[in-house]
């Protein structure tokens, strides 16, 4: 996958260093993959089809036509609870920022997809497990508000462990805030698509992620409300491997479709065409 120009300078040195690693081992089949081949294959194992978790900017580059104008990048997280356990919360944010090259768990902005202007939000599990803090909620809200003003469709890629503990109730309130923004956006007749990626759970799945007009999930993604470990501890037995996979949710009627990453862009283009009133 060629690296668009706007991606330059978006990554910290450390993140770029990881990009430079030559080989990556597939966690599923153990195949050692040449990093450049893996990227060219949209981070899907060329041997077994395992979908690696994508970094936000890689995801954006894999979807949009060219340019991507970021929104809310200057809205940055604080430390409302003055949280400190094994490490202080600002220290956790700092190391995640260096590791992921992101300033929060979501990147939002506007771009074209097959010539059509879209609002695009992409969550990244590499930053605080994709958890939703105040700024995550704020950026998604800004995105939906701007998309509503412009009357353009919105696509959000979800990947999250839920609400972020270290921001306490102010994190939980982001469920309410994003819900309100989604509701207004949809009430005006705008089209809203969510792509659930591995993993999506907790407060994110229980708010803006499951409020979409069409819910797409990436193949084999783990999706649920409660985490697998919590459920296993509650019922005191092991869950079947299939439980909470995208395929499981499709069978239960909770989502619209399961799509392989290679087909994702074309699928989104078709969905936008159906909803475009042309």
């Amino acid at each position: 996958m060629p690296r668009p120009e706007w991606l330059a300078g978006r990554r910290t040195k450390e993140a770029q260093a990881t990009d430079g690693a030559m080989w990556t081992k597939c966690p599923k089949c153990g195949e050692v993959l040449y990093r450049r081949d893996l990227a060219a294959n949209l981070f899907v194992c060329t041997r077994c089809g395992y979908h690696f978790r994508m970094k936000a900017y890689d995801r954006i580059a894999s979807i949009v036509d060219g340019d991507f104008t970021e929104l809310g990048a200057d809205v940055l997280p604080g430390d409302p609870l003055k949280w400190s356990d094994r490490r202080s919360y600002p220290a956790k944010l700092k190391s995640d920022r260096e590791r992921s090259g992101l300033s929060e768990s979501v990147v939002c902005g506007f771009a074209s997809l097959s010539g059509r202007r879209i609002a695009l939000g992409v969550m990244d599990f590499h930053f605080r497990g994709g958890t939703m803090g105040q700024v995550t909620g704020e950026r998604i809200t800004l995105l939906l508000e701007e998309a509503r003003r412009e009357h353009v469709p919105c696509i959000i890629f979800a990947a999250s462990g839920g609400a972020r503990m270290e921001e306490g109730m102010l994190a939980l309130m982001q469920l309410a805030k994003t819900t309100a923004a989604v509701s207004r956006f949809m009430a005006d007749g705008n089209f809203y698509v969510v792509v659930l990626t591995d993993p999506t759970s907790g407060g994110v799945s229980a708010s803006f992620a499951f409020q979409a007009d069409v819910i797409v999930a990436e193949s084999k993604a783990m999706i649920g409300f409660a985490g697998r470990r919590v459920i296993e501890q509650t019922i005191r037995q092991r869950l079947p491997d299939q439980f909470q996979t995208a395929e499981f949710l499709l069978e239960k009627g909770a989502i619209d479709m399961v799509v392989e990453r290679a087909d994702l862009k074309d699928t989104l283009v078709r969905l936008l065409e159906y909803a475009a009133h042309e």
Partner: protein, 328 residues
């Protein structure tokens, strides 16, 4: 042996309570004036009460919020002028961990919805310890929409550890049920007043707590996750719940400071269950007082206010750190 800290602590009072009651009985039965002895004992009783419950840590408040005798949603609803329960999600099942229906409060017709835990073991099993399944949230969604259609203000009572984390709840799309419930309350065209009466655990609590006015009892708690859940998530060790409770800022004072809670209702020394009747009366007074000005607003103004109320949350920032601000 109870696993509730507060219940354990109350044991030391039981003997004293018994002696006071005995003295009162004896005093009534014989001519000798025993009022000074009774007064002395009662003074001692109050002293111990203050010692035990005068100041409560966040973790102690978590236990107070979970106290088996703490008034539950149905105890509040029982004191409405009248109430007719409405059941079911119209798809699959009636979830007894959420109760709801139409009623009259101080002469005003309302829709009421609340999470309902059990008041004893048998009822707790029936009500799944107050942890709603998707069917419960779908019932709440249905009632919120009905309330908008009938122009009935919505009164909610929040009391849950969290949404049910079980196999069947996942199979029935718990996430979707909560997400849509949030949307139903967010877009309801009638006033909503929510009261956190016990434990407010995570998204499962918030589903009934998106409101124009939020009241919280002094010793109730409301948090992003239960302390046990938070400890499990952060440190893979649920036994560190007490430490998590101290971090989470889950008390009424904390949440009032953040602007998440609009009003705190004081509780009697030792908790709401020590004078449940009075607590319920004052709560319903406060609900009515909050509803009254909201009922005068047009749906447009109401929705706009509600939007801005939640829109604001997220601008909060700590001093000396990079600012959190909105781009508007």
């Amino acid at each position: 042996m109870s696993n509730n800290l507060i219940v354990e602590r109350e044991r030391s009072l039981v003997e004293l309570e018994r002696r006071i009651a005995e003295l009162r009985e004896a005093s009534a039965a014989q001519p000798r004036d025993m009022s000074s002895e009774i007064a002395a004992l009662e003074e001692k009783y109050q002293l111990i009460l203050r010692e035990l419950f005068g100041t409560l840590s966040p973790w102690e408040k978590v236990h107070m919020a979970r106290h088996p005798n703490r008034p539950t949603s149905l105890d509040y609803i029982a004191r409405f002028d009248r109430f007719d329960e409405l059941h079911g999600d119209r798809h699959f099942r009636d979830d007894p961990s959420i109760v709801g229906g139409m009623g009259t409060l101080r002469g005003r017709n309302v829709m009421v919805v609340g999470q309902q835990r059990g008041r004893d073991t048998k009822e707790n099993l029936h009500r799944n310890f107050g942890m709603p399944a998707p069917e419960g949230y779908r019932k709440a969604t249905r009632l919120a929409r009905l309330a908008s259609r009938l122009c009935l203000p919505i009164v909610t009572f929040v009391d849950t550890k969290g949404a049910d984390p079980g196999i069947s709840s996942e199979e029935h799309a718990q996430s979707e049920a909560i997400a849509i419930c949030l949307q139903a309350f967010s877009t309801a065209t009638v006033p909503i007043v929510a009261t956190i009466v016990g434990e407010g655990g995570s998204g499962g609590a918030l589903a009934l707590a998106i409101a124009d006015f939020v009241i919280m009892l002094e010793h109730s708690t409301y948090s992003v996750a239960s302390p046990e859940g938070c400890a499990a998530i952060l440190w893979s060790d649920a036994s560190k719940a007490e430490e998590a409770a101290a971090h989470l800022k889950l008390t009424a004072d904390d949440l009032h400071r953040f602007g998440i809670v609009d009003q705190i209702l004081p509780e009697p020394l030792g908790g709401a269950h020590r004078n449940a009747r009075d607590v319920v009366t004052r709560t319903l007074d406060a609900v009515e007082a909050a509803l009254s000005p909201l009922a005068a607003l047009t749906p447009e103004i109401l929705l706009d206010q509600r939007y801005r109320k939640y829109r604001r949350l997220g601008e909060w920032q700590a001093e000396g750190l990079e600012p959190v601000r909105t781009a508007r």
